[in-house]
Amino acid sequence: MKSAKPKRGKVVSYNKWGYIFLIPFVVVYLVFQLIPMVTTIYNSFFENYRSGLIQVGPTFIGLDNFIKIFSNADIWIYAKNTLIMWVLGFVPQIIVSLLLGSWFSNPSLRLKGQRFFKTVIYLPNLIMASAFAMLFFTLFSDGGPINSILIQMGILDTPFSFLSNVWSTRILVAFMNFIMWFGNTTILLMAGMMGIDTALFEAAEVDGATSTQVFFKITLPLLRPILVYVMITSLIGGLQMFDVPQILTNGTGDPVRSSMTLIMYLNKHLYSKNFGMAGALSVILFIITGALSLLVYNFSNKKEK
C-alpha cells in the first residue's frame, strides 16, 4: 500500500503532460473545425442571405432550407455527377497505383531509376489544381494544341469542342484527378506493400506460386487496411471535388450542369452570401459523406470478421 501511492502520483503527472501536449491540437480543432461545424448546422435553420446590399434575415425558418433542397431533384443530379467523375478517375487510379506499387516494391524486378520515377509520378500533385485546370482548358479549347494535332493527323476534320460535350468534359475532369492523385496513391500502397513480410513471398515462390497468384492471394489481402484507407480518403476527397471542374468549366458546370459537383453547387449559394441554403447543403453533404464512408468501411472489412 505504501509503495503504491507515489507510483500512482507519477502516472498522474505523466498524464498531465499528455493533456498539455494535446492543447494545441484541441484549440485548433475547436476554432477551425468544431465551432464552424456547429455554426454551419445552426445556420442551416435560418433564412439568411444578401441581395445586392440588402441583408435578408437571419430569420428562423426551421427545416425550410432542407425542404427546398429536396423539393427538386437537382442535388441528386449533382451527387451523381460527382460520383461519376470520382469513379471515372478512381478506378484507373487504383489499378495503375497497384501495378506501379507492386513493381516498385518487388525486389526481384530490380527496377532502375526508381527514385526518379517515384518523384515524377508525384509531381503533378504539386501543381495547383487551378493551374492544372487552366492548362487543360487551354490545351483542349477549340483552337488549342490538342485539336490542331488531331486535325493535322487527319483524325478530325473540324475542331471537337471538348468542353461542350458532356462525357468529354467529365472524362477530362476525371483524367486530371487521376493524373494528380495516382502518384500519391502509389506511394501509400507501396508503403503498405513494403510492410508485408518478405518471408511470405519467398514461401509462395518456393511453393511454385505465379506472380499473379502472389499478387491476388498474398499482396492484396494483406494490403486491405491500406486499401480501405485509400478508398475512404479518396471518396471524401472525391465528394468534395471542386477546384478542377470549377476552373475548367468557369464555374458553370456546363454543359447543362452535367459536370457540376456538390461543392460547386454549394459555392453558387455563396454568391448571395446565402448561409442558410449553403449551411443546409453542407449538413446534407456531411451526412452523405459519413454514410458512404461507413458503407465502404463495412464493405471492405466484412471478410475479416
Binding site: V38, L53, V256, S272
Partner: protein, 444 residues
C-alpha cells in the same frame, strides 16, 4: 463535466453567430469636409491614370497613394475577378457607418451592369448634395446619367466616358464578298437583323464567319429591350432577347458563327486574318485597346478594320464615379467630379492623350468634325461622328439591379442550347435556376 463544457461551447458559438448576424443596417450619415485621407475604391488603374494625368493638383507618391494638397489619396484597387471587387466594396460599405474617419470610403467606381445595386441605396450620395448642378452636367450624354439615376429619379454618379458601340468589320472580307469596303455601302448589308442574317449566309458561302461568337451581338440586343429583367420580383425575358436566342441558334446551326466566351483565345482569333471573322461589335476602347493592334500580323495593326452603325445602337462598358455617403472630403470629391467629367478643356485633353470617348458633347462634336483626327486601326476612318450619333440614341430606361446576374447567366445558359446540349426549355430552366441561386428572392 465534459457535457457541460460542450454545451457551454455550443451556446457560445450560437450567441456569437447571432451577434454577427445583426450588425448591418443601411444608411451611413451624410457628407462632411476636412478629412485627411481620400479613399478611392476601384478595380483597375484607369481612373487613377486619369486623375494622375489630368487632375491639376495630384501628386503621385507611390502606386497606391497620392497627394492632393495636404490630403492623402489612397487607391484601394481590387481586380474584379469572380466578383471580388464588389465583395470587397460591399463589405467596406456595410461598415462605412462605424469606420474611422480616415478609413471611410470617399469615392467608389461602378460599372453599368451593376450600377443600380449601389445607386439605388443610401450608400451612394446624390451629386446634388455635393453641390453639382444640372447645368454643370448639361453637356453629358443622357444615357450616362440614366444608368446612375436611382428609382426616385436622383442622380448619384458621373462618368467621364461614353461608350457607344458600332459594328466593326474587316475591310478585306467586305471587298471580297460585297465588292466594296465603303462604310455606307456595308451598312446597307447590316442595316437590321434580317439583312444581317442574309449577309451572314452570303459570307458563309465564301468561307467567312459573320461574327466570332453569338455573344458578340448579345449587348446589341440586350440594350434594346422593352421590359426590365425583373418586374415585381419575377424574372421576365424580353422579346428582343428571345430574338437574340432565335437568331443566334439559327446562325450557330448554319455554321455562320460560334459560341465562344468573350475574351477567350478562340474568340480573339478573328483579330487576325486567319480567323476569317467578318465583324465584331464594340465601342471606342474596344477598337483601340482590345483588337491586338500592337501585335504584328493582326488586322488592326494593318488598319484593316472599318466601322459602321450596324443593326441597332448599343453601348458597352464605361466607369461611373460615385461619392460614398459619410465621406469626409465632400468638397474635394465634388471638385474631382467636376474637373474630370465636365471640364471641356480637360476632357479634350483626355481624348487626345488617351483616345477615350469622353462624356462631353461639345468636345466630341468638335473632334468628330476635325478631319485631321483619324483612327489607325480603322484604316484612317474618323469614326467619332458615328459614336456621337450613337451616344445620343442609346435608351436605357429598362435597367434593373439584377442586370449583371441575368445577363451573365442568360448567355451561359443559352450556350447549352446553341451547342445542342439542351432544349430551349431546359436552357431557360437552367437560366432561372442560376439567377435564383444568386438572388433567392426572385422567382419566375
Amino acid at each position: 463535466m465534459k457535457k457541460k463544457v460542450l454545451s457551454a461551447l455550443l451556446v457560445t458559438a450560437m450567441v456569437a453567430s447571432m451577434l454577427v448576424g445583426c450588425g448591418d443596417k443601411a444608411a451611413s450619415g451624410k457628407a462632411t469636409d476636412g478629412g485627411k485621407v481620400l479613399n478611392v475604391y476601384c478595380w483597375n488603374d484607369e481612373f487613377q491614370r486619369r486623375v494622375k494625368d489630368h487632375y491639376p493638383d495630384y501628386q503621385e507618391v507611390d502606386a497606391t497613394t497620392g497627394k492632393i494638397g495636404d490630403v492623402t489619396v489612397k487607391w484601394n484597387i481590387t481586380a474584379d475577378q469572380d466578383n471580388a471587387y464588389q465583395n470587397n466594396l460591399d463589405a467596406a460599405l456595410l461598415k462605412q457607418k462605424d469606420a474611422a474617419a480616415d478609413d471611410k470610403i470617399d469615392i467608389f467606381l461602378i460599372e453599368a451592369d451593376y450600377a443600380l445595386k449601389y445607386v439605388d441605396t443610401d450608400y451612394a450620395l446624390s451629386v446634388k448634395d455635393l453641390g453639382i448642378t444640372d447645368e454643370n452636367l448639361a453637356n453629358q450624354y443622357q444615357y450616362t446619367k440614366d444608368i446612375v439615376t436611382d428609382s426616385k429619379g436622383v442622380l448619384k454618379g458621373v462618368s467621364w466616358q461614353g461608350c457607344p458601340g458600332v459594328l466593326i468589320y474587316n475591310r478585306d472580307i467586305a471587298k471580297d464578298v460585297f465588292g466594296t469596303d465603303d462604310p455606307a455601302e456595308v451598312q446597307k448589308k447590316v442595316a437590321d437583323w434580317d439583312t444581317f442574317k442574309a449577309t451572314a449566309a452570303e459570307l458563309q458561302a465564301k468561307g467567312y464567319y459573320a461574327m466570332s461568337s453569338v455573344n458578340d451581338s448579345y449587348r446589341v440586343y440586350s440594350n434594346n429591350v422593352s421590359t426590365k429583367w425583373v418586374v415585381d420580383n419575377k424574372i421576365v425575358i424580353d422579346e428582343n432577347l428571345m430574338k437574340w436566342v432565335e437568331d443566334s441558334k439559327a446562325m450557330v446551326d448554319a455554321g455562320q458563327t460560334n459560341t465562344y466566351e468573350l475574351w477567350g483565345d478562340d474568340w480573339s482569333k478573328g483579330f487576325y486574318p486567319e480567323g476569317k471573322v467578318f465583324c465584331y461589335f464594340g465601342p471606342a476602347w474596344f477598337v483601340d485597346f482590345s483588337m491586338a493592334a500592337d501585335k504584328d500580323g493582326s488586322i488592326a495593326n494593318a488598319g484593316g478594320w472599318a466601322a459602321t452603325e450596324g443593326p441597332q445602337g448599343f453601348f458597352w462598358g464605361g466607369t461611373w464615379v460615385c461619392a460614398a455617403s459619410g465621406t469626409d472630403n465632400a468638397a474635394l470629391v465634388k471638385d474631382i467630379m467636376l474637373k474630370l467629367t465636365t471640364d471641356e478643356a480637360i476632357m479634350t485633353d483626355i481624348v487626345k492623350a488617351d483616345n477615350d470617348f469622353v462624356n462631353n458633347k461639345p468636345a466630341m462634336n468638335a473632334m468628330a468634325a476635325d478631319t485631321s483626327y483619324s483612327s489607325k486601326v480603322l484604316g484612317g476612318q474618323n469614326p467619332l461622328a458615328m459614336y456621337c450619333a450613337g451616344a445620343e440614341k442609346i435608351d436605357l430606361s429598362n435597367l434593373s439591379k439584377y442586370d449583371q446576374a441575368c445577363n451573365e447567366e442568360f448567355q451561359h445558359a443559352m450556350k447549352n442550347y446553341f451547342d445542342g446540349n439542351a432544349t430551349l426549355d431546359q436552357a431557360l430552366d437552367l437560366f432561372y435556376k442560376a439567377v435564383e441561386e444568386k438572388h433567392p428572392e426572385l422567382s419566375h
